[in-house]
């Protein structure tokens, strides 16, 4: 079995920064990413012949420096590789998708740098083909240099919509409209707070200027109420200060914020006989953006070095992260709006897309008996039991079960649980061509035993 000091999961800014710190301290390091190139979601690499999507020069320069540092260090980088969790013995299960094989890896420390995911408020029609996330549009622009054909509308809330709209405009494909629930430019106190952070303020100003120059229709204080599909494509129903209106589109990009991709991840652990040290870094630790991710990656890397090798300077990231936190709080202040009225959503609204369960299905399930626990609702109703394991729906299912009496109630974590996110893996990936795998090699709960030759019970 392969053994390494530190496995870093995720090849974005946080992961690469952590890997550099750990490797520089002399620890054997393996860095893995699910994609065919490093970069994470922020620095998705363009394929050959595709121009890079405009990003703040500060960010691209820092990324290039990071990858230059990485190249100069003895880090084993595995691409098209997904981390499938730790088994009961603390062994890392790693799936190499390029070669379709699963390997056990013994590591003393794991740094999880798996980034953020978008929050998507359930609305009627959010599950229709043609509806996607704004981040998903950005990934497509960054990697392929193109967008889905036809009319595109963006809706939700947050600075990501502005960034994406300007990136679309640069491709000559401005969105038909951007519907923003908040009133960012009408938040002078928050804007003043942002001015204390020059880099962030400059970036915000740059995006807003591009938005204005490209004449993108940015309708603030507008909320998307529903999406429906007709023969002519998608139709959006939008509520604004002037009342309700409709707009047709071929594709709708949704985005209602970012949250750590920490579903099922264990709390940071200091190791011991249970297995490796596990630390989180970057957006999956706390969503603070790409610049903070580098600092947090270094922090986690330094912490790992301290725990594994003893001594070593502890990376003074506290001050840097505090400033990023303040900047993000200022931005959040600018984009603050009323929370969505989940109670007002019609029964037909899809809630658990993977299992085809609607909000009406949930209401029918919980109206029968009071005080149901999340586990009962999950097992009886199948909410969060589907392929995404609650990543999209758990938080909303929990919110819909809140009775507003302040007595707590379930959280999203009660639905997602503490289980490594499962992913589709072909059985063939567990088999090696010239070795017969017996049932003793693979136990029922997914533990993969070390593939030693089977010791014959009758051997003397």
């Amino acid at each position: 079995m392969t053994g390494v000091d530190v496995v870093v999961v995720g090849g974005g800014p946080a992961g690469v920064a952590a890997a550099c710190v750990v490797a520089r301290a002399g620890l054997s390091t393996m860095l893995m990413d699910q994609r065919s190139a490093l970069g994470g979601a922020l620095h998705v690499q363009p394929v050959a012949g595709v121009p890079a999507v405009p990003m703040p020069r500060r960010q691209t320069t820092r990324w290039r420096r990071l990858t230059d540092d990485l190249t100069a260090l003895p880090v084993e980088t595995r691409l098209m590789t997904r981390f499938s969790g730790l088994d009961a013995a603390g062994i890392a299960i790693v799936e190499d998708r390029a070669n379709e094989s699963v390997s056990p890896i013994r590591a003393r420390g794991i740094v999880l740098a798996v980034g953020a995911v978008e929050s998507i408020v359930p609305r009627p029609g959010w599950d229709l083909p043609g509806v996607l996330t704004v981040g998903g549009l950005q990934v497509m622009m960054k990697q392929s240099g193109r967008l889905p054909p036809g009319r595109i509308v963006l809706a939700g809330s947050g600075p990501l919509l502005v960034a994406a709209a300007t990136q679309m405009a640069a491709l000559g494909r401005s969105p038909l409209a951007v519907f923003e629930a908040a009133t960012p430019v009408g938040a002078p106190l928050a804007a003043a707070a942002l001015a204390l952070h020059p880099a962030y303020a400059a970036e915000a100003l740059s995006y807003l200027t591009k938005l204005w120059t490209a004449r993108v229709l940015w309708r603030t204080r507008h909320r998307l109420a529903a999406i429906s599909r007709t023969d002519a494509g998608l139709v959006l129903t939008v509520d604004g200060p002037g009342g309700r209106s409709s707009i047709g589109a071929d594709w709708v990009g949704l985005h209602d914020g970012l949250r750590p991709n920490d579903f099922g991840l264990p709390a940071d652990g200091r190791g011991g006989e249970a297995g490796p040290i596990v630390l989180r870094a970057g957006d999956c630790h706390e969503v603070l953006g790409g610049d903070a991710a580098i600092a947090d990656g270094r922090r986690a890397g330094a912490e790992m070095v301290r725990l594994l090798a003893g001594g070593g300077a502890s990376w003074a990231a506290t001050t840097a992260l505090r400033r990023h936190r303040q900047a993000q709080a200022a931005i959040a202040g600018m984009f603050r709006s009323e929370p969505p009225d989940l109670g007002g959503l019609p029964d037909s609204t899809m809630l658990c897309r993977c299992e085809g369960k609607t909000i009406g299905d949930l209401r029918a399930l919980i109206n029968g008996s009071e005080g149901q626990h999340a586990r009962e609702v999950k097992l009886n109703g199948r909410f969060s039991m589907g392929a995404c394991q609650g990543r999209l729906c758990a938080a909303w299912t929990a919110a819909l079960m809140q009775r507003g009496t302040g007595d707590g109630g379930p959280t999203g974590r009660d639905f997602t649980g503490r289980r490594w996110p499962t992913l589709p893996v072909p059985i063939s990936a567990f088999l090696e061509p010239d070795q017969s795998v017996t049932s003793r090699d693979l136990t029922f709960d997914g533990v993969m035993a070390d593939r030693r030759p089977d010791p014959s019970p009758s051997a003397t």
Partner: protein, 89 residues
């Protein structure tokens, strides 16, 4: 399969789809006008998050279930929806 090039494209439900070398299956399908990664336009498989977490874009890729958004298109690849009968996943 030995002499396949990008010009051969990938096959989606029997139809040849061109792709840019290195891009994902999802990007190639969408560029070709495919909206649903299932068998129809009702609720079903489609490109959504783009980062491999929502599992909404799962398709058969040469007999293996994979996220279309993460899997690079490879010349000669056969891509099929998970729901051949036309029902939502």
């Amino acid at each position: 399969m030995g002499s396949m090039t990008a010009a051969d494209g990938i096959k989606w439900r029997g139809k040849t789809i061109p792709f840019q070398p290195g891009e994902s299956i999802a990007a190639a399908l969408i560029a070709a006008g495919v909206v649903s990664f299932g068998s129809d336009l009702a609720t079903g498989a489609r490109y959504f998050c783009g980062i491999g977490t929502c599992q909404g874009c799962l398709v058969w890729v040469d007999g293996v279930v994979r996220e279309a958004c993460l899997t690079p298109a490879v010349a000669g690849g056969t891509i099929e929806p998970l729901d051949p009968g036309g029902k939502a996943l």
